[in-house]
Amino acid sequence: MGAVSIHHVSKRFKMDDGSEFTALSDISFEIAEDEFVSFVGPSGCGKTTLLRIIAGLDCATEGKVFVDNTEIVKPGPLVGMVFQEYSLFPWLNALDNIAFGQKMKGISKEKRHSDAMKYVELVGLAGFERSYPYELSGGMRQRVAIARALANNPDLLIMDEPFGALDAQTRNMMQRELLDIWEKQKKTILFVTHSVDEAVYLSDRIVVLAHAPGRISDIVQVTVPRPRDRTDPEFASFRKHVLTMIESMA
């Protein structure tokens, strides 16, 4: 479950002066089931726009997106999303944040809380389920956000720079835990990041986007076996390869 196919997706915005701005130009590629794919690229290359189209939050001007052969035209249960920082509902505690999707489905409080507890444990937050977001650290908040997206049981999990605001140590720890979760849960993951290091550490494939207009510049298959070691020369050479590509665009 969770195969994604993107067919000739373009996105143009009308500017105030009447001209058109092409954010994405003719993007096509396929993502296999249970694959971990990262998007990297210079800022303004349309990474977030592309993610939002795949999630059904924005519409493509041209082209189509399919998840498990279902065309995505609006947000739905097939696709889960983890946003950048501050996306937890601050008025709900961790457990109720995680159970929010189940609540929207009309599932009873008892059932959705006991289901949500499983995800609390999965992301290692047992004991903090009654805490409000302001009581949690940045890393813990993003764990809740991941648990909340997973609790809806999507086939595809989209993550938009989820660890961007975390300090380096927490970030590395979260990356390891995300890979654990990915292995346990078997989801397709689409991950946007600014950090090439993060992309190489996590991904099966890295999609390198170019800007103006946003388009696929290259797709890199990361062949380093997991668990990956950042000091390994092979790892370093992948990182260098992708970095050089991005820098050559600037």
């Binding site: 609006k74 947000p75 999303m81 946003f83 509902f89 601050p90 709900l92 609540k103 809806n152």
Partner: protein, 260 residues
């Protein structure tokens, strides 16, 4: 540490009250020397005791609370839905905003003649004036809360299956806007309390805190006027304290440090 601070605050509060009363007493007794112009603290306290023994004070308080209740209930009933619609649907905002902006600057007391013509000398005409004073702070703050719900919350909601406007309003916008709703309510209570006195002075009933101020003024019993003025202050303070306690303990406990 916190306890020591609370104790210190309490100490200073008592000191400040004591000084205010002492200055008042001194100015009234030694400087003004005229009970009509400025009744002293002891005069007012004596008047307070005699008013208490009459027992009508409870009737006054009750009547005023009814006026306040009618006005506040109406303004919540009408102001909240209007503010929600204006904050959430741009069409409603474009449609209603001009009317709200034109009506809003009108001082509520200016409507007293119409209140009396329409509703007679009844609790409802006092309630109507209170309503006019309270409804705009509620509309404006509700609008502000609903129009500034962070987009990411709405997006998260959509992805998690919260798709209709009605559900987004109920499960996302309403709790997100709660801090604004609460401050709108508190501002509205203050305005309502103010309008209440004005409305009651025009004799909509034989009881009421505001009505008694005018009544005793006509009898030239300024010490009793002062008693009712202070009661208005203390009831307002008590109600606001109760609101603040409820807000910080229940409604906004997720927003620590916000309510002050």
């Amino acid at each position: 540490m916190v306890q020591a601070d609370t104790k210190r605050r309490l100490g200073y509060a008592l000191l400040s009250l004591f000084m205010a009363v002492a200055i008042w007493e001194f100015v009234a007794v030694a400087v003004v020397q005229n009970k009509y112009l400025l009744p002293s603290f002891t005069d007012v306290f004596a008047a307070f005791l005699s008013i208490l023994s009459l027992g009508q004070i409870y009737r006054d308080l009750w009547t005023s609370l009814i006026h306040f209740g009618i006005g506040m209930s109406l303004s919540l009933l009408i102001g909240l839905p209007l503010g929600v619609c204006m904050g959430w649907f741009w069409r409603a905002n474009y449609l209603l905003n001009p009317i709200v902006e034109i009506l809003r600057p009108i001082p509520p007391l200016a409507l007293i003649p119409f209140a009396i013509v329409w509703l007679g000398l009844t609790s409802f005409s006092a309630g109507f004036v209170v309503f006019v004073g309270a409804v705009f702070p509620i509309i404006i703050n509700t609008y502000a809360g609903f129009s500034t719900v962070p987009k990411v919350f709405v997006d998260v909601g959509k992805v998690l299956g919260c798709t209709s406007d009605l559900r987004q309003i109920r499960y996302i916008a309403f709790p997100a806007a709660m801090p604004h709703l609460v401050s709108g309510f508190r501002v509205a209570c203050g305005t309502a309390w103010m309008c209440l006195v004005g409305a009651e002075m025009f004799g909509v009933s034989r009881f009421g805190l505001g009505q008694k101020i005018w009544w005793y003024y006509n009898l030239h019993q300024m010490d009793k006027v002062m008693v009712y003025i202070l009661i208005l202050g203390f009831v307002g303070l008590a109600f606001d304290t109760l609101c603040r306690w409820y807000i910080s303990k229940k409604l906004l406990k997720w927003k620590v440090g916000e309510v002050s």
